[in-house]
């Protein structure tokens, strides 16, 4: 693995694990964080989040990562999976 790829994966994994913990706590899931798959859908099927969970998640993402999705027309397309959230955090911080 090249150093650049190694660095990228390391920061991606760190964010992935932090977002998983937020999701687990927000939804009070009784699972280990690694049981939340990065591409699992958050709404409808998958984790089965509802609009109340979504509001709480958006607030948490703002508080922890400074990801400003409150009132954003892109909120529903950003929080589709853990991976799409991590993409948005990395893009906002210029890491992608």
């Amino acid at each position: 693995m090249t150093p650049d790829l190694s660095d990228y994966v390391a920061s991606r994994v760190a964010l992935l694990n932090r977002v998983r913990l937020i999701l687990r706590d927000t939804m009070k899931l009784q699972v280990e964080p690694e049981a939340i798959d990065p591409d699992a859908p958050l709404f409808g099927t998958g984790l089965g989040m509802d609009s109340v969970d979504a509001v709480e998640l958006v607030v948490q993402l703002d508080a922890v990562f400074g990801l400003e999705l409150i009132g954003s027309p892109y909120a529903s397309t950003t929080i589709r999976t853990v991976n799409t959230i991590v993409d948005a955090i990395m893009e906002a911080s210029g890491e992608s």
Binding site: I36, P38, D39, S76, T77, R80, T81, N83, T84
Partner: protein, 353 residues
């Protein structure tokens, strides 16, 4: 009709499809849901009138069937892909308590399944059935005079499955097709629906082999109970204890990449292509690859399919790949006729390697 036109129906208008490959079953009796619980891998926390996606696994923990579980009064309707009705009955006989009071009914001889997909599928159905259909929540169903309407779908667009008596199905198909054409749509093949499912990250028993794979590698842990025993659970526990070494990851490519192609990184092999298909929406190939867990992440441009003369690069991406039009079409404000008045972002916002 070309794949591209079929694709356009699903992604921009409405599409009708016969779902002859889906098994339609009804379990009757007080113990119906307990019997389904014994064979499915998920916790069946689902109310009457709602649907839940689950799996049936074999003893190795590999998915053999993709199942919608739909409790309906004192029965449970099942839509099953991947195994036959006889195989499902055998699975019940092997795993459900023989003392349970159940009666398994194959709905197929007397019923057919039609499905509608697309950002304007709701408009077709509101004209054919009732305007109230736009209020039907995702993963729920209700009975109407000619059958049952399920709000489901695996394309990322508005989707509805209609289970109807066979004597009504042909007339319904003709009427629906006329309405589908009025919103720029058409009848589409299973291949097109499978492509759309792939683009949106829906599991399909037809997306490549699952040989040696469990829900842990397939990113389907949300369909696996952490509380109950079910067929294949011992294999999953063993795999989890030993550590998962590979994970399914989505990718795009500019050039042809085929199922079974081996993938390399800068200094070592990293995995294998599980399924790949050309996507008109992306303008390139979309697919899944089984990658070493250390690099099974989106946003990586360093993997390629080696060839004698050249190398085909892939880019790993997050799922779902598309910004579906159904996310921005609001049945309370939009119609197909006024679609040009609304601004729609592009379906694909990424770029190819």
């Amino acid at each position: 009709m070309s794949r591209e036109n079929e694709y356009r129906s699903v992604r921009h208008g409405a599409a009708l499809s016969r779902m002859d490959h889906v098994g339609l079953l009804r379990l009757r009796g007080d113990d119906a849901i307990d019997a389904v619980d014994a064979v499915c891998s998920s916790d069946l926390w689902v109310r009457d009138g709602r649907m839940l996606q689950s799996l049936i696994l074999d003893e190795r923990g590999q998915p053999v069937a993709d199942v919608y579980v739909c409790p309906d009064d004192e029965a449970c309707i099942l839509m099953v892909e991947g195994i036959t009705t006889d195989e499902f009955a055998a699975c019940l006989a092997r795993h459900a308590d023989p003392g349970l009071e159940i009666e398994l009914e194959d709905l197929r001889p007397e019923h057919e399944l039609l499905s509608l997909h697309g950002p304007y599928a709701w408009e077709v159905l509101s004209r054919w059935l009732t305007p109230d259909i736009i209020g039907l929540p995702y993963l729920s169903f209700y009975h109407f005079d000619r059958g049952i309407c399920f709000r489901a779908g695996k394309t990322g667009e508005y989707g509805y499955d209609l289970v109807m008596r066979s004597e009504d199905a042909e007339d319904a198909r003709r009427e629906l097709l006329e309405l589908v054409r009025s919103v720029g749509g058409a009848e589409v093949s299973l291949g097109t629906l499978d492509l759309c499912a792939l683009e949106n990250g829906f599991f399909s028993v037809r997306h490549g082999s699952v040989e040696g794979l469990t829900p842990l590698e397939l990113q389907l842990q949300w369909r696996v109970s952490a509380r109950k025993r079910f067929p294949g659970v011992a294999a999953i526990e063993e795999r989890r204890a030993g550590g998962v070494s590979r994970r399914l990851t989505y990718f795009v490519a500019r050039d042809e990449v085929k199922t079974g192609d081996l993938l390399r990184g800068p200094d070592a092999p990293v995995g294998e292509v599980m399924t790949a298909a050309f996507s008109p929406g992306v303008g390139g190939v979309v697919g899944t690859a089984l990658l070493d867990i250390s690099v099974a992440h989106p946003g990586i441009d360093e993997f390629f399919v080696p060839d004698r003369d050249s190398a085909t690069a892939i880019r790993t991406v997050s799922s779902p790949l598309l910004l579906n039009r159904s996310l921005v079409v609001d049945p309370r404000r939009h119609t197909y006729a006024t679609r040009e008045d609304a601004t729609h972002p592009p379906l694909w916002q990424g770029s190819l390697p």
